[in-house]
């Protein structure tokens, strides 16, 4: 029906699809000092950078879970990147990675962090650690892997120094999604790269004709896009795992 008065310029913000970036961050004692300092600094810097990633129709939200002797969410709900304030972390205690996996499984559901009626993009999950779990992480991971949100999510792990590569590969399901730094020297670069590229992939373009979306829970397309971006940023032959072997490891 035309011919009625209305204001064609008055509108609500266009409906947005939610993209939750989950960060599982190891804050055990070994992370204390420079490592946790780098994490704090780079996260404070990178958050403003991803405020406009994804354009108008993505609502990027962050949910940060730290694990040491126990687990703790930075905020009780995922919060929008527009208003998110990073609360600086400190490190102490054990490495309850398994506890973190179970807690993530708890919250990755429609009745918790991914509530309706919002439409969500498949989430992104980062795992950052510098050591070996002190609890039954593998058992917890088996349970987490049954979670359909987790299955469809893009999973990226960042390992620092001497870390449990097996569990990180089991977590991501693909060795190419495990980024590592021998000393932590390029930790900032890796966190920045992983955050920006995955928020772009999560909310944006997909390569055409790549197939790989054959099963409902598959994250294969996003994984491939992430690996492509990794190669584009760091080169084919230059795996970010090995480019800082000469760096000073003292003072941690």
């Amino acid at each position: 029906m035309t011919g009625e008065a209305f204001d064609p310029l008055e509108a609500e913000p266009i409906a947005r699809k939610r993209l939750v970036l989950f960060y599982l961050i190891d804050v055990s004692g070994s992370m204390d000092g420079q490592k946790i300092g780098v994490v704090n600094q780079v996260m404070e810097e990178v958050i403003p950078e991803i405020r406009n990633v994804g354009g108008a129709d993505s609502d990027i939200q962050l949910a940060v879970l730290t694990f040491s002797s126990g687990t703790s969410w930075m905020y009780p709900q995922p919060s929008s990147i527009e208003t998110f304030q990073w609360s600086r972390l400190s490190a102490d205690g054990m490495t309850s990675m398994g506890g973190a996996f179970l807690e993530l499984d708890n919250k990755m559901s429609r009745s918790a962090f991914l509530s309706a009626p919002h439409l969500s993009f498949a989430p992104v999950v980062f795992l950052l650690t510098d050591g070996y779990p002190t609890d039954d992480a593998l058992g917890a991971l088996e349970k987490l892997k049954l979670n359909r949100w987790f299955k469809s999510s893009l999973k990226v792990a960042l390992g620092i120094g001497d870390f449990d590569r097996d569990i990180l590969e089991a977590f991501t399901g693909n060795p190419e999604l495990v980024l590592s730094t021998a000393t932590g020297k390029n930790l900032a670069q890796l966190i920045r790269f992983a955050t920006i590229s995955s928020s772009t992939i999560g909310s944006r373009s997909m390569g055409y004709g790549s197939g790989g979306a054959d099963s409902e829970d598959s994250s294969a397309l996003k994984e491939k896009a992430f690996i492509d971006m990794k190669k584009d940023a760091f080169g084919d032959e230059q795996n970010p795992t090995v480019d800082d072997i000469d760096m000073d490891d003292s003072g941690w």
């Binding site: 009625e4 310029l9 509108a11 409906a15 309706a116 009626p117 439409l119 373009s205 055409y208 397309l221």
Partner: protein
Amino acid sequence: MSSFSSGDRIPLMTGGYAKVVRDAPLGSGGQGEVYLVEYKGTQHALKWYTSLKMRTSVEFKENIRKNVYDGAPSERFAWPLDVTEDVNGSFGYVMRLLPKDNEEFSDFLRTYRITKTEPPRRVPVKFASFPCLIRAAIQVVDSFAALHRVGKSYQDLNDGGISMDMSTGDIIICDCDNIAPDRTNFGIAGKQGYMAPEIVLGTKTPDVYSDRFSLAVILFKLFFRDDPFWGAKVCKCCNLTDYNYRKYYGEEPVFIYHPTDSSNRPVEGIHDNVIRMWGRYPQYLKDLFTRAFVDGLKETSKRPIEIEWMSALIRLRSESFMCSCGGFSFVSDDAEKSGECTCPKCGRSYPVLMLGKTRLPLAKDAVAYSCQTRFGSDDFEKITLKVVENRLKQGLMGLKNLDDCDWEVFLDGTRKSVQPDKGTEIVPGMRIEFDRKTSGTVLRRN
């Protein structure tokens, strides 16, 4: 880490240099960085590739060189003006600088821009008036018509590629580096929600047809502020995984206002914009969207071409009116029968001038354009007719000839000429011959 610092001179292929004038890049993204440079004596932008794929692709670079050589199809593209020589294994191109007060299309959709301050603030982004919005729509369509006429396609139209002046509606098409001769593609597919189904499915690479699909999405979002394929059916999936995206945007997308399939209607509380606005727009515009998103989904040649959008938008521009009371509306369907157009807010009625199919309400300051009053003209910006008030007799409204040729006015067997810059009183029943082949009639009231 920036690739350049202030004072660096980057050699250009055509000779000369682009000189970096600011240390930090103006912006950076997945593909590269943008620097403020001095080029031919004035400030320009330099896009510099950091992406390995792009900086090492000979074909990609050659295509940009070719575009520099060909020149822009219209002044509304931030077209590559010059390509740099290789520096440290990469290259870039020079383009115009965007006006600093321009806003991005994505921020228009969001209704605000987020400042880069800490803490960030929201700055409202809104067109100054409906004519500005229409002007933006017309310019986007006209730009794509110009691009397609030179045999090229844009291939990645999305909400990040259009810069707009909200006070005028003037637009600039940005990110022109994937523009290539039709059917040539350098690996770009597009952005979710803007890609044509055949691109989502990977059965074709982007071309003019997929550009036309993305253009329809952009226009839909410009007017209705919602996604044409995100309705109840898509909401049910909760998690828009790659599989679900492929299904709802590639394999079986359902237009939210599909005429016979109501399974994907917009959802109250989520898609309130389109729910409020769809019914208010005239059928001829809605028909084009329906064709693009229903018939044109699989049959790419059925998607509306630019000239069809153009004529609908030019008509819409004339058939929307603002009453002196401030009420806005589109001309109602019965205007032709009643012979007048009534403001739904205050009830005041205006005479109507029929220009072909277009019904122009003759409210003060209403205008018609060359493309509507001159045979063969496609000039949609030159105003040839304006509704003005007589300077000596307050309240007496007339049509002023702003064209450069005489009009012939016929009324009840009489005839008179109206010279350029002269006017004539509006009288129901009068017929105006603007030229030998184009005329308009002021409807008689019934």
